[in-house]
Amino acid sequence: MLRKFAIPMAVGVGAALTVFAMPAQSMEKKMAVADARLLAAGCFNCHGPAGESQGHIDEINDISADKMVKKMKEFREGKASTIMGRIAKGFSDAELMALAAHIEALNK
């Protein structure tokens, strides 16, 4: 786990996605997308470093980027949850894609 976490980070992944991803809502187009390392690290406080959970909360180190984006969009659109619905609504499509790609890369 430690080794994986220490893999050098994806400089520019977030930036790349800002340019190329097409957010669903026009409001989001204006919003700068943070660096993917930062967006991904924002998941680790609840889900554990690199997404490896110590228990009680699901781990997210074993799902593909595509699946993570899909799941987050489902939460955002109202799939039943205790807290993920509230959290997922806080991310644009571009942010979701950036963080999911980064977490997938960290755990390869």
Partner: protein, 430 residues
């Protein structure tokens, strides 16, 4: 591969949708940041996160963490110790992994002065430690209050607003109290560390009394007329603690004006109120002492910062994070401090490498327990506003657990509270 070609490559990879680990592996961050010195003051939720993440994102940077304590005791979930079902070991962490796995130099000493011109930190033990960038995360301190000076009175009347011996003392006082006793909790005025904390505390002390000393009660004497997660707490109190918890608002003479620590009494407009156990949480909180000593505070007692980089607006090359910083839009919580620290760590790494600084992105997830199996939460994901003057939630996101949720949902959130502690503590000290 040089840095710029790596970035070009990634952009192309992004364009074709082919982002993958292969583009990341093998390109260690050993750029211009190499050899730079980052010093962090304070190894709590914010500071320890920053130390670890600077090292994670650029292993060539020399990181020194100054923290007097060998062991850090978490305030989050410390109220479970007061409730009689948590234990100190579960909320205690150390710096072994920080030293051995993350190669942070940990100096167990107290920072006593900062020289922003010479860029050095002096410690109580007499060391002088030089930095290129300094991150200050000393948490909070208390201003004096009529009849209550923390350093003089905390041994009689614990605030337990810094976890550790204070938590143990308050627990002991609760254990020693006779059945039929009155516990008075006096929460602070805004702004303060952990807005829902006093009410979680009332709940869990209520739990202890209901299960072990059923003729006793908790009175919350509040200098405010409303409080964090009020609807959810009130719902929980009605469900579990009828007759055990009484909340007295400011309008109903709840505001404490003076403390008599020896007599365990508090005075309000109306007169003196005697407690068997008194938990006074000082209302005038401010940034940890070193922040003022370093000239980083404004007249509020807290530290103004640039919200993208967390660099002080007073002193260059010094960043302030966690409870000590003024971060409009965000609460003073451990989770908030952890995410501020990550934004700050990345900014520091970028600045030392001469790279552009990312926009910040932070969050807060704060669980509160009403009983061991009744939990609820408030959360938010924050973006920096376009003028960079505050953090805001994306429209429709974040917020509170719903009112009237099922017992299963409450139980799930209580479990998540412990899962959160296990994971955030590993993210920080693991």
């Amino acid at each position: 591969m040089t840095k710029s070609t790596r970035r070009d490559f990634l952009q192309i990879a992004g364009a074709t949708g082919a982002i993958s680990a292969l583009s990341l592996a093998g390109c260690a961050q050993m750029g211009k940041g190499s050899g730079a010195r980052v010093v962090v003051i304070g190894g709590g939720y914010a500071g320890a996160t920053a130390a670890k993440y600077v090292k994670t994102w650029d292993s060539s940077i020399d990181v020194t963490l100054i923290e007097p304590k060998q062991k850090y005791v978490s305030c989050p979930l410390s109220n479970t110790v007061l409730g009689g079902f948590g234990d100190m070991a579960k909320i205690t962490f150390d710096y072994t992994a920080m030293k051995n796995d993350h190669k942070v130099n940990v100096v167990h000493d107290m920072a006593t002065a900062v020289d922003p011109a010479k860029k050095t930190v002096t410690t109580k033990g007499g060391q002088s430690i030089a930095y290129d960038r300094l991150i200050v995360a000393p948490g909070i301190d208390f201003n004096d209050f009529p009849g209550y000076v923390a350093s003089q009175h905390e041994d009689m009347v614990p605030h337990a607003w810094k976890a550790g011996p204070q938590t143990v003392l308050l627990r002991k006082q609760l254990e020693a109290m006779d059945d039929g006793g009155v516990v008075i909790i006096s929460p602070p005025t805004n702004p303060y560390r952990c807005p829902p904390g006093p009410y979680e505390r009332a709940s869990l002390i209520g739990f202890y009394l209901k299960t072990k000393k059923p003729r006793s009660k908790v009175i919350v004497m509040d200098p405010k007329d409303k409080f964090s997660k009020q609807g959810l707490f009130t719902e929980g109190w009605n469900m579990h603690y009828k007759g055990y918890i009484e909340w007295v608002s400011k309008a109903n003479d709840g505001a404490v004006l003076e403390v008599d620590a020896k007599g365990k009494r508090v005075r309000t407009d109306f007169g003196w109120h005697k407690a068997d156990v008194l938990n006074f949480i000082p209302p005038k909180q401010k940034a940890g002492g070193i922040a003022a000593a370093a000239g980083l505070t404004d007249k509020s007692g807290w530290c103004p910062v640039n919200l993208q980089t967390f660099e002080s607006t007073i002193h260059k090359d010094i960043h302030v994070i966690g409870d000590a910083a003024i971060v409009p839009g965000m609460p003073k919580s451990g989770n908030a401090g952890n995410t501020e620290a990550k934004a700050c760590a990345l900014a520091v790494v970028s600045l030392l490498n001469g790279d552009p600084v990312s926009t910040a992105h932070t969050s807060n997830t704060c669980y509160s327990l009403i009983t061991p199996s009744h939990g609820m939460s408030v959360n938010a994901t924050y973006h920096l506003t376009e003028d960079s003057k505050k953090y805001t939630k994306m429209k429709g996101s974040g917020g509170l657990s719903p009112m009237g949720a099922s017992a299963d949902v409450r139980k799930q959130e209580a479990k998540y509270a412990w899962g959160w502690l296990a994971n955030i503590s590993t993210d920080i000290w693991g």
